[in-house]
């Protein structure tokens, strides 16, 4: 039987180790484990690599401990703005979206672009409208925001407010 395997990441960063609490670290490990399981079981049953990577990333997008989907960072305006891509190594087909809001799983939208759109890459409102046309699951703004991301955004805004103003 040919070999099968799955590798995933949940982000690389340089940071003070003390900034990750034991509780946070445990939640991260649990999320990584769950995502690995979601993709691996597809491969184990003989499913496609494409289905496996989508399921893996969906799991991470649905987990607020990772910076994608629910738990995404907020931009300067305090809005979620998500990007995603997917590529099939067998055919070199690819799909990508950027600056997407409301779409629960941006990587599924990227796959829908790959499979059902004549183009490779859609952005912003066009990508959102394409998601609506194809019946993808949408969520309200508050679904994507978490206490952590809201707090991080407030700190950035407060820092900007400290800059002396002149009229």
């Amino acid at each position: 039987m040919p070999k099968y395997a799955l590798v995933l990441h949940g982000g690389a960063v340089t940071m003070d180790p003390s900034s990750i609490s034991p509780e946070k670290e445990a939640a991260l490990r649990e999320g990584l484990q769950a995502a690995l399981k979601a993709g691996w079981k597809i491969l184990h049953r003989g499913g496609s690599a494409l289905d496996a990577v989508e399921a893996t990333v969906n799991s991470l997008e649905n987990n607020e401990n990772f910076n994608s989907g629910r738990g995404s960072s907020l931009n300067l305006q305090g809005e979620v703005q998500m990007d995603a891509s997917i590529m099939d190594g067998r055919t070199l087909q690819a799909g990508a979206v950027n600056s997407v809001r409301y779409v629960k799983n941006p990587v599924t939208l990227a796959r829908t672009v790959m499979e059902k759109c004549e183009h490779v890459y859609l952005s912003g409102d066009g990508a959102i409208e394409f998601a609506l046309e194809h019946g993808l699951t949408m969520e309200a703004v508050h679904y994507f925001e978490t206490e952590k991301t809201r707090q991080e955004w407030l700190e950035i805004v407060m820092d900007e407010a400290k800059v002396p103003q002149k009229d």
Binding site: L6, V7, S73
Partner: protein, 136 residues
Amino acid sequence: TVGAVALDQDGNLAVATSTGGIEGQRKGRVGDSPVIGGGSYAANEACAVSCTGDGEVLLRGALAHEVYALVKYKGLSVQEACKEAVQLRAEDLKGDKGFIAIDTDGNIAIESNTNVMRCAYRIEDEEPFVAVWREE
């Protein structure tokens, strides 16, 4: 950012990458994740790669495609290719870089220049590996 690469039982590769961007980013800013060749690339003839880290750095280096090219044209293993991509023009491409990759023989690579590299992998029925820190 999150991502995954996989090899299935038919010998096919795939990659997916998804991100919420960076805190306080300018509206409309696009990083590497959605850019084919920047943050993601997959081709059965070489490997599948997903990137994470400083998006602008990964974009300027076209680093997902760089890993692919190092495997395809230089004949490096995915581990060697990812190590070389992390070091590629480090003086010009300064910043956090992280890569996961897999080839059609099931060889895998996880490389970064950061102390945190949240990752996991499982090969066939072997025990799963999960890590938060690069040195695990």
